[in-house]
């Protein structure tokens, strides 16, 4: 039985890293940018654990444990920052903060209008019922 070659694990790590990079660069929701950064860390973790397996020592696993620790710290700080940014602008859109750009850069303008809001479908209601029919009084026949 041949084991899965090291190259394949490294490829999966590289693909996760690249997808996370694209997500971090392209998405505008701050929480999704943060999740993409976490996905890049996952890709690095897969790499390190694969090396640890194929070199027969635990150094890669210890490194990944430290990565997980630092990622937890990063999550705490990032969520606190996102919270305070959201309180200021009332939106998670990172492009609202583009006044922080370098001097001399043109601002990005969204030209295409957003799609129209979908019409709310009214939830179904029962037709109002009529007058409650009279029930015959219960009598005992004993």
């Amino acid at each position: 039985m041949t084991p899965v070659p090291l190259l394949h694990y490294l490829t999966v790590g590289a693909i996760l890293f690249a997808l996370g990079l694209i997500g971090f660069l392209a998405r505008r929701n701050m929480i999704l940018m943060f999740l993409s950064a976490e996905m890049m860390l996952q890709g690095v973790g897969v790499n390190l654990v694969a090396f640890a397996r194929f070199r027969g020592n635990l150094q890669g696993q210890a490194f990944t444990l430290f990565i997980v620790t630092v990622a937890a710290c990063e999550a705490a700080i990032a969520l606190a920052l996102i919270l305070i940014l959201y309180r200021t602008k009332r939106s998670l859109d990172v492009s609202l903060w583009q006044e922080l750009r370098e001097p001399g850069q043109d601002p990005t303008v969204d030209e295409e209008p957003l799609p129209p809001e979908p019409k709310e479908v009214p939830s179904p209601t029962l037709t109002p019922s009529g007058v409650e029919p009279l029930q015959p009084k219960e009598t005992s026949h004993v």
Binding site: I15, L19, R53, L65
Partner: protein, 360 residues
């Protein structure tokens, strides 16, 4: 010179590895088509493109005939992880994207388990699942905007971001396959094994190459492939060993002595197998007494720890050994990371605290 370089690059990208390049381009097209924008492209195009890219990459990398549990589990976990990553960056609904991230984490935890790291798997599930639930609550709490919003319906520079990401991926895959790719070696090994299976001396003499010239080409390729495996002295010695074994193979071939030819072929096979086990290994340098608490030290040759298929043994009590490694080799680092957690907690509280009488 420049033209020749360009031509060889072109040949490498589009002729020798055309399917890889095409798979990467299809993946880039899929991500570009699926990224959120106000007037989205039909989702079918993106789905077809991403499916094409995954199938092509799998076609190139998966070797048929291996239906053992490990490859099956590996390929299913990795396809799940990659699909989850794609969903994470292309979903318009942030709640669904957070769930896709949970999928990525769970399937990479499956990969950790396949790589003999059960403690790390459990720790990652606990920590990331906790972080995911917190993030998920934040998404639900904060992003309750009615209707489409700028943050979710638009991408920032989707084309440039896709090109940047896939250019990085292409460079990474190129470097990895140059340093860790054993495909050439495996095809050479297949030829040697086919030669070993021959019945008569006449057939065996012709198995590595019909004419002397073809056989010379075979051995040149063999030596070149071994030398590509790294600069470590072990690998360079193995490449020299090919020449020594040829000195025994040639007279045996001339004399049509099947027993001696068998012995020489077995030696060639052993060289190829040893090279496959050493591929991409760094040079072990010096004999300083390095710590052994995390497994064999990095300046040791790992032959003693290798099984016949090239993967070393790992201790069964992963948690106990990881603990020993953390509290000996990494004692300072683990204390520092505890301090880092404390500082991050204080920092998060200080940042998010709403001071009375101030604006946000």
């Amino acid at each position: 010179m420049l033209v020749a370089d360009l031509a060889s690059t072109f040949h490498y990208l589009f002729v020798a590895n055309g399917l890889y390049t095409f798979a990467l381009c299809a993946g880039a097209a899929a991500v570009y088509l699926l990224l959120p924008r106000p007037n989205p492209y039909p989702a079918l195009w993106g789905a077809v493109s991403s499916g094409l890219s995954l199938v092509l990459l799998g076609w190139q990398m998966v070797r048929p005939g291996s239906l053992a549990p490990e490859p099956i589990l590996f390929y299913s976990f990795s396809v799940l992880a990659i699909l989850g990553g794609g969903f994470l960056i292309t979903q318009r609904n942030p709640a669904r994207a957070a769930l896709a991230f949970a999928l990525v984490v769970l399937s990479s935890c499956g990969l950790f388990l396949l790589l003999a790291a059960p403690f790390l798997m459990a720790a990652t599930i606990i920590i990331y699942a906790g972080a995911i639930i917190v993030t998920f609550l934040f998404v639900l709490m904060l992003a309750q905007q009615e209707g489409p919003s700028d943050a979710d319906q638009r991408s920032r520079e989707p084309l440039l971001a896709t090109i940047a990401g896939f250019a990085l991926l292409g460079v990474l895959l190129f470097t990895l396959s140059e340093n860790f790719g054993t495909d050439n070696l495996r095809s050479l090994l297949d030829r040697i094994q086919a030669a070993q299976a021959k019945e008569t001396a006449e057939e065996m003499a012709r198995a590595l190459g019909d004419s002397d010239r073809e056989e010379q080409l075979f051995f040149d390729g063999f030596e070149k492939t071994i030398r590509a495996g790294g600069r470590s002295s072990e690998i360079q010695n193995l490449a020299g060993e090919v020449f020594n074994v040829r000195l025994r193979w040639n007279p045996a071939k001339q004399a049509r002595d099947i027993e001696k030819m068998r012995t020489a072929l077995a030696e060639f096979e052993a060289i190829a197998l040893q090279t496959a086990a050493l591929f991409g290994q760094l040079e072990p340098r010096g004999h300083w007494p390095l710590s052994h608490f995390s497994g064999p030290a990095s300046n040791q040759t790992r032959d003693a720890f290798r099984r016949e298929n090239g993967v070393p043994r790992m201790p069964a009590e992963n948690t106990a050994y990881l603990g020993r490694s953390l509290f000996t080799d990494y004692l300072l680092a683990i204390e520092l990371s505890g301090t880092l957690l404390l500082v991050a907690m204080i920092g998060a509280i200080a940042i998010a605290y709403r001071r009375p009488g101030r604006a946000p």
